[in-house]
């Protein structure tokens, strides 16, 4: 595929696999091995199970707030899988599938949502930034990382995520503009899950889609069926190759749907109809990929069941390994503000410790 052939002004989603698991564009189908095909499936399932279990832990009062990814697995896994190991991933906060592809241990992910500081620690060798809570602010970092790759003459590409809501922030604009002006090797992936908490797309922008916002920056934009893992992979891969080749940034809109709540603090029945959700359940990205794999003879109900069982056990055992054992050390609150702790902080730490010890 070439990005040129997919003008976002046409408002047509780029799609390879339709919602019934049928391949529409044989010529664009990525040339994956069977192992790769199964890895992608397993990763989406893993993501789904991590979400579902977290939600159930949360309902049981064993987990804090949690933001599920259900329905967005293809957008995440498909885009991240197009990255090389040395490429940088800059997340917003709803990219579980991408994190898994990048190799972040589930333990960290659960620690994060469990409220422990170490959840944001990325093991050496994984080029992924921690969650960025202030919406869209992370896009600036992505552009900066990519500009640095250029300056250093390195070939790494950066992939950054943002939500549909995030496109309204000034930082979205500035990051894309800088990226285009400096031809930075960065791909911006908008996960358009159609809601920013309760706010619908029509209240977020008056443009027909988000991909076309690329035009304002003189960069290519492509509107993709975000529930089609092949299309997401292919579009991202094309953009990454282009970036690595010195041709600059690309904006990708993954048109998808948030099947769950915004977070566990949110009640979506207050602002959207069940019928809408039902309609989208039909377009579940895992469903269509599952059919594809079954048609291809790679997946059977049995394999599916045993894979899920295995993953469920893994998830449960990791959660149990952190549950009730993850309070933050007092020192840990102070230790990471500066390379050398200033006397003020040391004094406050010591005063507090001596209070706890009942001393003066």
């Amino acid at each position: 595929m070439g990005l040129k052939n997919h003008n976002p002004l046409d408002n047509i989603q780029y799609r390879i696999l339709d919602k019934n698991g049928i391949v529409l564009k044989e010529e664009d189908l990525p040339k994956f091995t069977d192992d790769e095909l199964m890895y992608l499936y397993r990763t989406m399932i893993f993501s789904r199970i991590i979400d579902e279990k977290a939600l159930s832990y949360q309902r049981q009062g064993r987990m804090l707030t949690y933001a599920p990814n259900i329905g967005q697995e293809a957008a995440q896994v498909g885009s991240a899988y197009a990255m090389e190991k040395n490429d940088w991933l800059v997340p917003a906060f709803r990219e579980l599938g991408s994190w898994l592809v990048k190799g972040v241990p589930l333990r960290n992910i659960y620690l994060y949502w469990y409220g422990n500081e170490w959840g944001s620690y990325m093991p050496e060798g994984i080029r992924l930034l921690p969650v960025s809570v202030p919406i869209a602010s992370q896009l600036q970092h992505a552009t900066g990382i990519a500009m640095a790759s250029n300056i250093k003459g390195e070939k790494d590409v950066t992939v950054a995520y943002v939500g549909d809501g995030g496109t309204s922030e000034g930082d979205f604009h500035e990051a894309l503009n800088f990226a285009a002006v400096f031809k930075a090797p960065v791909i911006f992936v908008i996960q358009n899950n159609q809601y920013a908490i309760s706010t619908k797309g029509s209240l977020q922008t008056a443009s027909k889609n988000y991909a076309l916002k690329a035009i304002a920056y003189g960069m290519p934009g492509i509107l993709v069926d975000g529930n089609d893992i092949f299309a997401m992979y292919k579009a991202t891969k094309t953009a990454i190759d282009r970036a690595r080749n010195g041709e600059g940034p690309t904006l990708i809109e993954a048109y998808t749907y948030r099947l769950g709540a915004h977070t566990t603090s949110d009640d979506p029945t207050k602002y959207r109809d069940d019928s809408e959700v039902e309609e989208w359940k039909d377009k579940d990205p895992i469903l269509r990929y599952r059919i594809y794999l079954m048609n291809k003879g790679l997946l059977t109900d049995e394999i599916d069941e045993s894979m899920k069982k295995e993953l469920e056990e893994e998830v449960a055992s990791i959660f149990e390994s952190i549950e009730n054992k993850s309070d933050t050390e007092i020192e840990d609150i102070f230790k990471y503000h500066y390379e050398v702790m200033p006397p003020q902080l040391e004094e406050q730490l010591n005063e507090y410790k001596s209070f706890l010890e009942g001393g003066k």
Partner: protein, 326 residues
């Protein structure tokens, strides 16, 4: 007529009252319309007043505050919400460069009767950026007012006063106690004047100045030390800027001792200003070093560490004793 409300309900009622009384009041922000706000502070408003006066905005704080400036110039009284006070920073330029300065710049021609509301403070086991107490940043900026209520009754009266104020007001709501307790609150609109602190407990041994969610922790600590014969005078500052200096200066002249308790980091927290004022106005009355008990000079920790950050009633009580026994 009165009813029994918690803080978030009192805020909701204040908005209801003022929107009814003054049709130039408009309410908007992220998720405040259809959903009624993530903390439900604006619930039912859109149903009652329609989506011309109560509406959801795109996700952009600078625009929320910046358009409110324009609306205020053009005859409306916008009351906008920042979803959390930790997300006001994209709007910081609008606040420091324009909200604080439009009256002065235009020599009084363009005034900004607007309110920026935000849930603020820690202790609700939240993600990063959802727990900070950064009121000092705004209190340092000439031209701003910042108000922090501590009870449902005050919340309603202060918010109504803020909406009616001819100048812009930042209204920071202590979300830790949004639903912590209820109080009798008159159904109709009433004002509590901005810029006036409140002595909530009279005493002779030490002056304690605090505000927001810390008020209740200080009250608990006061009960502990009262058992030991110490009589603290507790002042709820309520308006952080411009500050009611007389309230604590007069009190210190009586007690000779002062402790400021706040959640915000110590360095350049509002406590620093209070202590400096006491030095300037009541130096000769001081019998012990004016003291601060505050959050650490660190980022507010994530939930599994947050119990360490906010001064507990026990720590407050211990500090009161230390100052009194100096």
């Amino acid at each position: 007529m009165a009813n029994t409300l918690n803080i978030v309900q009192a805020i909701n009622q204040a908005l209801m009252n003022e929107m009814e009384l003054d049709n130039t009041v408009v309410v908007y922000g992220e998720d405040v319309g259809v959903e009624g706000g993530v903390f439900r502070a604006t619930v039912e408003l859109q149903k009652k007043f329609g989506n011309t006066r109560v509406f959801d905005s795109p996700l952009a704080e600078s625009a929320i505050v910046g358009t409110a400036i324009g609306m205020a110039i053009n005859g409306l009284k916008p009351v906008v919400e920042m979803q959390f006070s930790g997300f006001v920073y994209p709007a910081f330029n609008q606040i420091i460069s324009h909200v604080a300065r439009m009256r002065n710049r235009s020599r009084g021609r363009y005034t900004l009767p607007m309110v920026i509301r935000a849930p603020y403070g820690g202790g609700i086991r939240a993600l990063e950026h959802h727990s900070e107490s950064m009121e000092a940043l705004f209190a340092h900026i000439p031209g701003l007012k910042i108000v922090i209520p501590s009870t449902p009754y005050d919340a309603k009266g202060l918010l109504i006063a803020a909406i009616r104020d001819p100048d812009p007001v930042l209204f920071w709501e202590p979300k830790r106690i949004y639903r912590a307790f209820k109080q009798e609150v008159p159904e109709e609109a009433y004002e509590i004047p901005l810029g006036k602190a409140k002595i909530i407990d009279e005493g002779t041994d030490i002056t304690i100045v605090t505000w927001g969610a810390m008020v209740r922790d200080v009250q608990k600590a006061a009960e502990m030390v009262k058992a030991k014969g110490i009589k603290p005078e507790i002042i709820d500052l309520r308006t952080i800027a411009p500050m009611d200096r007389d309230s604590f200066v007069e009190s210190v002249k009586k007690t000779g001792r002062i402790l400021v308790v706040h959640e915000a980091p110590k360095t350049l927290g509002v406590g620093a200003e209070i202590i400096s004022i006491v030095n300037e106005k009541a130096f000769l009355y001081l019998e012990a070093p004016p003291t601060r008990l505050t959050g650490f000079d660190t980022t507010f920790p994530l939930p599994r560490g947050e119990q360490h950050y906010i001064p507990s009633p026990e720590r407050i009580a211990k500090t009161i004793e230390d100052v009194v026994n100096y």
